[in-house]
């Protein structure tokens, strides 16, 4: 069987594309939603005690992750990595397109006293949010996340099972994508830079719709 040169070139391009795509896929667990979804209204408090509503998500990009402040392992790992992601992203996009990093703390009674120290340890600009349980629930639904507060165990350890991904919210306060662990700085930053440029360059505010 003899293939034309064009066929061979095409095959080579497809093969190369598959290799490139799988290499990128292996390192970035990012999902872009087909249809951006506006977040639900919520009113929470930021870590300084000031009200923070869904409206305040408008005008800039945000990364929102779910957690609780007595989470010693996964949440700090995520926050530390997101700090590195944003640092890397600073080399790739305009400063006004850099996302805010928002930590949605879902155990308000326990989280409120620690929240400021907890989030600002990773970066002084990081924002911690918490508040009434129903408002937390609204915020969670808007970013397609869940949090299950478990009863403290016999030794009094508090535990929350929660979504590991961070939600990517565009400047119109819409959920447009999610990024998943391990949040490797360089590939995650590249993923976000591509996403931000794509939305930033689109004439239609509806993005890919």
């Amino acid at each position: 069987m003899k293939r034309s040169r064009a066929q061979i070139v095409l095959l080579a391009i497809v093969a190369a594309a598959v290799v490139v795509a799988s290499a990128a896929m292996a390192r970035v667990n990012g999902t872009i939603f087909d249809r951006p979804e506006p977040v639900r209204a919520f009113t929470l408090d930021d870590h300084g005690g000031k009200p923070f509503t869904a409206e305040q998500l408008k005008g800039r990009w945000s990364l929102i992750l779910t957690g609780f402040t007595s989470c010693p392992d996964v949440c700090p790992f995520t926050l530390a990595n997101l700090e590195q992601v944003v640092a890397e992203l600073g080399l790739l996009v305009r400063p006004d397109r850099l996302p805010a990093v928002i930590f949605l703390a879902v155990y308000p009674d326990r989280d409120r006293p620690n929240l400021k120290e907890y989030v600002t340890q990773f970066h002084p600009d990081f924002i911690g949010l918490t508040g009434a349980l129903d408002q937390i629930e609204n915020a969670l639904k808007g970013i397609d996340a869940v949090a299950v507060r478990l009863k403290p165990d016999a030794r009094g350890n508090y535990q929350v099972n929660h979504t590991a991904a961070a939600a990517v919210i565009d400047p119109q306060a819409r959920l447009v994508a999610k990024i998943n662990p391990p949040f490797e700085p360089a590939p995650t930053a590249q993923f976000l830079a591509d996403l931000i440029r794509r939305y930033g360059n689109a004439r239609s505010p509806e993005g890919g719709r």
Binding site: P72, D73, V74, P76, Q84, N157
Partner: protein, 350 residues
């Protein structure tokens, strides 16, 4: 400055064994030299700096089992915390959860990593404020009754010695040059050197087993983490080896004496040939570092330091150097510095 990582030997040596188990005949823990019997080593133990006021901290480390039998870690204690528990984080269907773990098996000649988003030591109820760079004692409790003392260092999660931001070799390069071919003869050329040798020397400097440099390396090396050390050593090892020193007179009597010692040794004086262990080793893979194309005065100084006992971090070299005369040392240094590097894979430096 405080060292950032755990000293393997020290850790093992102080691994206290409870009497009555396999070591019933060992007369107490002062017999530290039998540390290999402790069989569990811990590497790179660290505790991330936690936000002030947080009552739950976490510890990470790699546990290495050098024994031929399973080891089971049942728990841990620390004088700095009210309680230590074994936990595992898992991410399933996009949801992260954490559960207590009853015991962790470390397979024979295997290792288990306690690392972010996986197994970890949960440190509850800190008894004192955390301090960056401080060491926290943790005692691992094994099913055999053994206890293993661990010293974990407190550092930031975004420590530059971690992960993608590792550029420690820039610090080394201040003296050893970014291409590993140092300009000044008092700093050895590292380019193309064996990674294992570089790692061992840095550890030895850091941990006080080598100090024949006036303390400079101890100060520089105290700051390097084990994982970063491995990458840094690999970096210098990967560089093209240095060219031989072309300014030295070759084929003169001194050079020929050096060449003869290197290739044949001096049987009468009890000096084995250098190339039994070094460079194009007759025994196959070189055991010792590459010496060829190194600075002549650096080599001469090292041989004299072995001879006088200022440098001691090798089993064989003090004995061999004791038999070398001053003329032998100068001859070897001249020959080796002018001798082109031939790697085990056959590539030669220009």
């Amino acid at each position: 400055m405080t060292g950032r990582c755990l000293d393997l030997l020290r850790c093992s040596a102080i691994a206290s064994m409870l009497a009555g188990v396999a070591f019933g005949s060992v007369p107490g823990p002062e017999l530290d030299v039998s540390w290999a019997g402790a069989s569990l080593d811990v590497e790179s133990a660290w505790i991330p700096l936690a936000p002030v006021g947080l009552k739950v901290h976490v510890g990470y480390m790699t546990i290495v089992n050098r024994a031929a039998t399973d080891k089971h870690v049942l728990g841990a204690d620390s004088p700095d915390y009210e309680r230590v528990e074994l936990h595992r984080s898992t991410i399933k269907d996009g949801v992260t959860s954490m559960e207590a773990v009853e015991e962790v098996r470390v397979p024979p000649h295997g290792r288990v990593e306690f690392a972010p988003t996986g197994l970890h030591f949960m440190l509850l109820g800190p008894k004192r404020p955390q301090a960056l760079g401080a060491r926290v004692p943790i005692v691992l409790l094994l099913s055999s009754g053994e206890k293993v003392d661990v010293s974990a260092i407190v550092r930031r999660r975004d420590d530059p010695a971690q992960g993608a931001h590792s550029h420690h070799w820039h610090i080394c390069a201040t003296c050893h040059s970014l291409d590993g071919i140092s300009a000044m003869a008092r700093f050895p050329k590292l380019a193309g050197q064996r990674a294992a040798y570089i790692e061992k020397q840095v550890r030895d400097f850091r941990d006080g087993r080598r100090n024949n440099d006036g303390g400079q390396m101890e100060a520089s090396a105290s700051d390097i983490a084990d994982a970063d050390l491995a990458r840094t050593a690999a970096y210098f090892a990967s560089l093209p080896p240095p060219p031989p020193d072309g300014t030295l007179q070759t084929n003169g009597p001194e050079w020929r004496r050096g060449a003869a010692l290197y290739q044949e040794g001096d049987e009468a004086a009890g000096i084995p040939p250098c190339n039994r262990c070094h460079d194009d080793a007759t025994s196959g893979q070189p055991q010792g570092p590459y010496l060829s194309s190194q600075h002549a005065s650096y080599l001469a100084k090292q041989l004299r330091d072995w001879r006088t006992g200022i440098r001691t971090n090798s089993g064989d070299m003090p004995k061999i150097a004791a038999k070398l005369s001053d003329q032998d040392i100068d001859a070897l240094a001249t020959f080796l510095a002018s001798y082109p590097r031939v790697h085990a894979n056959g590539t030669a430096a220009q």
